[in-house]
Subunit: 236 residues, 2 copies
């Protein structure tokens, strides 16, 4: 087997060392690649049954729900190495839809594979538990720092979050990185309108906190931005 492991393995290895056997077990989850175009759905909220998860192999995706008034709420963003749909493990129908943001590769696998792992490896079991709980922590952090806070705070916090999450599989991430989300997407994640996102990013740029050109974000002083949003790096 090659030394060049999948993103999922890299993701898990950022939590703890894995032996050959665990790597092998993990890799089985990433064996049925499907290609998705931009705007293509992996599944839809309400779809039944919800007896499978997926690994984000390449690209970006997001989970969302559409409200009757036409608004969309984005619940989470998935990066390479992330597991999609973990939080729906206990449900029998999908809670949220999942859509690719760009050309992506995603590997579905059934719940059963997860349970096989639970039986085969207590170590991987612990790690899956860690990953699931960490995902919840990240969500909670985003909520806590986004809920009552002003728009500039929200945007800055989200940028810090994405930087931290990308750093897990990409240790030498610089202070400029790709973020393939429109301002409309950002608004749907953060509970703002795209208009207000535009104004607020403009304001943050004036203050040299962060710049956004097309799909790229540049943060001149990451530590300053983290301080501004009281971003706690240890919880990612």
């Amino acid at each position: 087997m090659s030394n060049h492991h999948s993103c999922l393995v890299k993701h898990f290895q950022s939590h703890a060392r894995l032996d050959e056997q665990d790597i092998d077990l993990l890799s089985r989850l990433e064996r049925s690649p499907e290609s998705f175009g931009p705007e293509q759905d992996l599944w839809r909220a309400g779809d039944k049954p919800a007896d499978e998860l997926a690994v984000m192999s390449q690209g970006w995706a997001y989970s969302y729900v559409d409200h009757p008034d036409g608004k969309r709420t984005i619940n989470d963003v998935y990066l390479p190495g992330d597991i999609i749909g973990l939080h729906e493990y206990a449900l029998d129908s999908h809670q949220t839809s999942v859509k690719a943001l760009e050309k992506s590769t995603i590997c579905r696998f059934p719940h059963k594979h997860l349970e096989t792992i639970f039986e085969a490896s207590p170590k991987l079991t612990k790690m899956f538990f860690r990953v699931a709980c960490l995902q919840q922590s990240i969500l909670i952090n985003r909520t806590l720092n986004t809920y009552h806070q002003a728009a500039d705070h929200r945007i800055a916090h989200f940028v810090c979050e994405i930087h931290a999450r990308l750093s897990r599989t990409n240790a030498d991430l610089s202070n400029t990185f790709r973020l393939p989300l429109t301002q409309e997407h950002l608004g749907n994640i953060l509970g703002l309108t795209s208009v207000h996102v535009s104004r607020t990013i403009g304001q943050l740029a004036e203050e040299s906190m962060l710049f956004r050109q097309r799909n790229r974000i540049t943060v001149p002083d990451l530590e300053a931005l983290r301080h501004f949003t009281r971003f706690n790096r240890t919880h990612y």
Copy 2:
């Protein structure tokens, strides 16, 4: 052993049947009861290490963070049978503080006990995974239905959530139940001021959607309230 099981066991039994051995394993988590008075903290955000969880045996508690401007965000509410701090399993310091709302009994247990269960019982492992994921689903549902939504919607949704969660260990819950939260608490959960909560509850009462007297909530027509907030009962 008595036939009268703890709330934790009841909670887990609402997910799947348990045999004697699993009940025994589970019960071990609830063996060191501590009594908490109202306003007493179980732990504080930032406390280190975060190597223990707790079972809510009796009473109500909530997890929260205080912001530098004096505002408080409440992240979750814990009911009898709930596990406290599950989402912090992957962290090495506490993300949120936890405070009892009223006189309560809480049993701490170390992470290690959880891992013992992972090794001893694949069935309980699956169930813990379910419980952790379901908690995340509930949080996501609350976020989705609360984030952009108007105040009346938020309050109604939260009331539906609590009713659903209480029903898990209390199958014959009627349409009036105890909710020992002040309007200030509700505001801190839902991202509103207590003033606005008061006004909105008044408005909901005018429309006969729900009534609140002291610590009690009465919902004349639960199905109507669920419909109003688009509350999906299957995800709790």
